[in-house]
Subunit: 144 residues, 2 copies
DNA sequence: ATTATTTCGGATAAATTTATCCTATTTAGA
DNA sequence: TCTAAATAGGATAAATTTATCCGAAATAAT
């Protein structure tokens, strides 16, 4: 469904949020270890999230990644996905047609529209806070 | 959502079904032209569908691909997708965890379960006949 | 039989995604 | 000021997906 990059991006964001609640800035090294992702690749992904101002980075000793506490609840899963995978998940045709709309639909246009809309609603109604709290309470997990 | 291979496979199957209703066997060349796909790559995909007995092939002059008329209505979109992309779309974790189930869910497990179930229902309730008839009536299109 | 046509299947290449490496830059603290 | 720790970012490599090429095998028609 999502690219590997996007999966890492989501998990990393959750881990950063989790620690930001405690006022802890976390390093790339720690993040990669805790979400079980390749370090250098994760770095690229975090760079993208920083560029899109979804997370914050601090260079140098004692630096790392963080998210302002107040912002965590307002960051939607959709923003993270969009930052990394773009918005093709919303607009692209299920069968890869260059043009696919109501006037010129592909054979699965209507069916896909429904599914994609559900996906959109899901991504837009899930935020970082919910996900971070589930990890904190042990209701969900970031690895294995 | 689907791989390129899967997109081509679905479109090719529809085109073959469409022609099989008229008793016409169609060649790889014609298929690739009509669904606007790379010929040699499409050949590989059709081979997979033949192996899984979703479509039928006849070698040699006047050969080509076909689907027995009686079978068309019973071929589900899910079978085509499964033949080419496998069943990861059903089982895989949304965040790529190796283990992700009710006892050890990833942070988006429940949300994804819902979407994936909708997708599953959609793929299993859409069949080749419906799609072929929509193309025939001009209600949907295979290219552009 | 020969030929033309067509799928099959192995080898290979191109493109994209995923992953690694290395150097530059920034920053806190000694 | 120097050093250690950390992110930034460019270059490159590995893996996967997508795409092409070509000879082999099958088959219908001549």
């Amino acid at each position: 469904m999502f690219s590997k990059a996007c999966e890492y991006g989501i998990k990393a964001s959750i881990y950063i949020a989790l620690n930001s609640y405690d006022g802890n800035r976390v390093s790339l090294k720690e993040i990669a270890k805790e979400i079980d992702s390749p370090e250098a690749f994760t770095a690229k992904i975090l760079q993208a999230l920083v560029r899109d101002k979804i997370i914050n980075s601090v260079k140098g000793a004692y630096g790392g990644f963080e998210i302002p506490k107040e912002a965590i609840a307002s960051i939607k899963l959709s923003q993270i996905v969009n930052s990394i995978d773009g918005d093709s998940i919303y607009h692209g045709c299920g069968l890869g047609l260059n043009v696919c709309d109501e006037n010129h639909p592909c054979p699965v246009h209507d069916q896909f529209k429904t599914i994609r809309n559900e996906l959109k609603i899901m991504l837009e109604s899930t935020n970082l806070e919910q996900m971070a709290l589930d990890i904190k309470s042990g209701a969900s997990f970031l690895k294995i």
